[in-house]
């Protein structure tokens, strides 16, 4: 396909990411990288729905929250092992995604956005009020990190150090990207693009648009759930505000700025917006103000984001058109 960065570039970046903890040993910066990794997973999964099937999903925070709370409750109350809780919680998030997608994806465009936003609010409200299950506004504390994996012959892989947790998150990020890439490069991925490009025409050539949108939505929610599980284990503490729709808004900003509909876009956007404000110690209100301003400017002047903008420039160079 057109404009894809060379495999060497990708390999190089992966290698860089792998060796990074050897150079960056400062805890503060490692922490930022880990958080960027987690939010990249969340943003990339939202991109599946936004960038590829073209729907503005504002319920993402809810699925992130469902994954986070489900895994935390499983580990705390059922004494479940992290490695079992992770796939179960993510599957639960995906399952709810499927349930919500069924009615929600009957609507389009702004109606869909508003409907999903309201769903997110309902979920946050329920998590906040259902104290018996979630401890409500007090929050859940003492969520265990990932349990060590026994490796025959060597001992075990533990996740106590920051570097180890970095690799864990990186591993899941790469897994997310791998899955997305496989799907998007396949015939299935082509149907996503077709729906985004011209839904009516896609239907006319036999693509069941609603079914495909539900598929992409469910997958997206599954990975948002994984992001939630990783967050819960890493931070160790959860409260209802984390499931708020501001997660959806944040992810939206990261994607739009980085480049919607590209693989690298959400990651770039997340990196920029998580690392820069952190290092500058900017207060939340100012950060939001700038986000809002940049979002408006971007959508008017550079709607394809940074990566997308570069991509369309690259495409214009070769042939001079018809």
């Amino acid at each position: 396909m057109k404009g894809k960065p060379s495999s060497w570039l990708i390999a190089g970046l992966v290698v860089l990411a792998l060796v990074l903890p050897q150079f960056v040993t400062n805890k503060y910066y490692l922490n930022i990288l880990i958080m960027s990794g987690i939010w990249s997973i969340v943003a990339s999964s939202l991109n599946l729905v936004l960038g590829y099937t073209g729907q503005v999903n504002l319920a993402h925070g809810a699925f992130f929250g469902i994954g986070a709370y489900a895994s935390a409750l499983m580990m705390l109350k059922l004494q479940m092992n992290f490695w079992l809780a992770l796939p179960l919680a993510a599957a639960l998030a995906g399952f709810f995604g499927f349930l919500i997608g069924l009615p929600a994806l009957r609507t389009k465009g702004s109606y869909f956005a508003i409907g999903t936003l309201c769903f997110n609010i309902i979920v946050t409200l329920i998590i906040d009020r259902w104290e018996g299950l979630t401890e409500g506004a007090r929050g859940l504390m003492g969520i265990p990190g990932p349990a060590p994996i026994p490796v025959p012959g060597i001992g075990q892989i533990a996740f106590k150090t920051l570097a180890a947790q970095y690799y864990l998150v990186l591993g899941f990020l790469l897994l997310t990207l791998f899955v997305m890439r496989r799907i998007l490069n396949s015939l299935v991925g082509r149907t996503f693009r077709a729906i985004r490009g011209n839904e009516e025409l896609a239907e006319a050539v036999g693509i069941p648009a609603r079914r495909v949108k539900i598929l992409s939505f469910t997958t997206s929610c599954f990975f948002a759930g994984i992001g939630g599980v990783l967050y819960a284990s890493y931070i160790g503490f959860l409260s209802p505000e984390l499931t708020d729709y501001h997660v959806s808004f944040d992810s939206l900003v990261y994607i739009m700025i980085g480049g919607v509909g590209t693989m690298a876009g959400p990651i770039l956007g997340t990196l920029l917006f998580v690392t820069i404000p952190e290092t500058l110690h900017v207060a939340a209100e100012y950060r939001l103000f700038v986000y809002g301003l940049i979002l408006i400017l971007m959508i008017i002047y550079l709607p394809r984001g940074i990566v997308g903008g570069i991509g369309s420039l690259a495409r214009k160079k070769p042939k001079g058109g018809a």
Binding site: I183, L187, R193, N198, A209
Partner: protein, 256 residues
């Protein structure tokens, strides 16, 4: 010849307005049937009713003796009814070849897990899609434009591509909505040849077209609509002599 598409009592109302009223007609296997009538006679509405983009208010549709009333466009497409749109509808940011590849999707079986694991079925489907797309590309004569973006190619090529996209779904019935709209005399002739080539492949065609010369030359039979009702039906010769038709349409329409 037997009928592959049958419309019985087909009607569609919008509020109090009857866009199509009590329409009975059929498309026979292997024929080119033209649907003509003044602007607003309901021709595109008939297409929308057949494919399922619109639900009929009354009446029924049968395709190869199978009831298709109420089916949605993606179902009718899977059954073998393909169409083009009056205003050329394409995937603007896809290349010509990619457009055709995705058009073949309804004839492939692979799912998400096939994609994830790169199973044999996935690889087989991808290869068949590419081959079919390339064949169709050659058939419609756009071989040299394979990697251009759909939104960048000239209008005549876009019309061909739209036809190609409909063809790649392996239809048995092709609905063409004004495929020659906005084309020059020379481009007309090219499109006509393409339509006849398609019929040569055994695909039946239902055609909406305003250019009377073309319609008279290419059609096996013609159905004439006015204000949503059928006012005449028959061979080009019969319809041309029908006084009602002449009065309603041929006299005032473009005699191009």
């Amino acid at each position: 010849m037997n009928a592959i598409l049958k419309a019985e009592g087909l009607s569609r109302f919008f509020g109090g307005l009857a866009a199509v009223m009590d329409l009975d007609f059929e498309v026979k296997a292997g024929e080119i049937l033209s649907l003509i009538g003044p602007n607003g006679a309901g021709k595109t509405t008939v297409f929308n009713l057949i494919t399922g983009a619109l639900l009929p208010t009354r009446g029924r549709l049968q395709f190869f003796e199978k009831e298709i009333t109420g089916l949605r466009p993606h179902d009718t497409a899977a059954l073998g009814i393909a169409r083009t749109f009056q205003t050329t509808s394409l995937f603007p940011d896809e290349t010509v070849l990619d457009t055709l590849i995705v058009g073949f999707r309804c004839r492939t079986r692979m799912g998400v897990f096939d994609a994830l694991l790169k199973t044999g079925r996935a690889r087989g489907d991808e290869e068949r899609s590419r081959r079919k797309a390339e064949e169709t590309l050659a058939f419609i004569g756009l071989g040299d434009r394979a990697s251009e973006l759909a939104k960048n190619i000239p209008q005549e090529a876009q019309k061909r591509l739209a036809v190609g996209l409909a063809l790649v779904t392996e239809p048995k019935l092709l609905l063409l909505d004004e495929p020659m709209g906005g084309l020059t005399e020379e481009e007309n002739a090219g499109m006509m040849r393409l339509v006849q080539k398609i019929r040569g492949e055994g695909i039946s065609i239902l055609l909406i077209e305003h250019k009377m010369k073309v319609v008279m030359k290419i059609s096996d039979r013609i159905v004439v609509l006015n204000y949503g009702r059928k006012i005449a039906e028959g061979t080009p010769g019969e319809v041309g002599r029908n006084p009602e038709v002449v009065e309603a349409y041929l006299g005032v329409g473009d005699a191009e």
